[in-house]
Symmetry: C2
Subunit: 156 residues, 2 copies
């Protein structure tokens, strides 16, 4: 139940981003049932290629928790974190990633992914992070469809 609630916060945040001309990605960080941060991608708004939803959520969480250690946190991401964001979660010592759509879905919608799955990243990098994928998968994929219907959509 809680997982659905927090994922839907990320989904709603992604929808807010889409309305503002951003790409269809949202992320929410939760620690012991407390919402620490919830952000969408702002690559276009901030003119910053690193400003993915997860990176933004992690940066905000560090500020909020006054530290770089996000142990005991779970990140809910509407799409499987790219290897940049996966590794940021590793550095931050986030316990668990719960994601919706897959990197391959983002690729199909035109994003120039460095397409390595979280499972492979975890194995190759010997990361202790727990991963749950395909969570509310169809709802999360529908974000890409919503975005794709926007007039001024731009992938990268």
């Amino acid at each position: 139940m809680n997982n659905e609630k927090f994922m839907r916060l990320a989904i709603n945040k992604a929808k807010q981003g889409i309305k503002k001309g951003q790409t269809p990605f949202g992320a929410c960080i939760v620690k012991n049932v407390n919402i620490i941060s919830c952000t969408h991608n702002v690559v276009w708004k901030n003119n910053d290629i690193t400003a993915h939803a997860e990176i933004n959520a992690i940066r905000t969480a560090c500020r909020k928790l006054k530290g770089i250690d996000l142990s005991e946190c779970t990140i809910y991401s509407t799409c499987e974190p790219c290897p940049m964001c996966f590794t940021a979660c590793h550095w931050a010592k986030i316990d668990k990633i719960i994601f919706g759509a897959r990197i391959k879905d983002a690729q199909k919608f035109g994003f120039n992914e460095c397409a390595i799955s979280n499972k492979k990243m975890k194995q190759s990098g010997k990361s202790p992070i727990e991963i749950i994928g395909d969570f509310l998968r169809e709802e999360n994929i529908s974000l890409f469809k919503l975005w794709f219907g926007q007039k001024n959509k731009k992938a990268y």
Copy 2:
């Protein structure tokens, strides 16, 4: 000649960071012999686990070039970019990474790396980015030694 010059700018920037209590990493982005950005790691200073030298250099370069496409740019990094930074370079369409020390060196000095080499990231993620490693290797490793001799050093 130019490669040595630009790598030494990154090395000097890393040294400035060490003096200020930061970790021993520097990065310099160059486009057509013009220096676009040169930064050191500010994870501790900014209380931001994502504030690696390369991420900072890419963010600064996006601002300076007024765009998220860093094609034709080379990044000089004192240490092999971690998978977060490698993937940021991929997203930014940076042409070439030239690095000094290796991720495994950083690991030896206590950094909790998600230890996947740039070579493996490139292969697995099918990234077109060109990679030159072990450049001025000993000079770059000496940054870790300099940092390790500091009283208040802190890895993460």
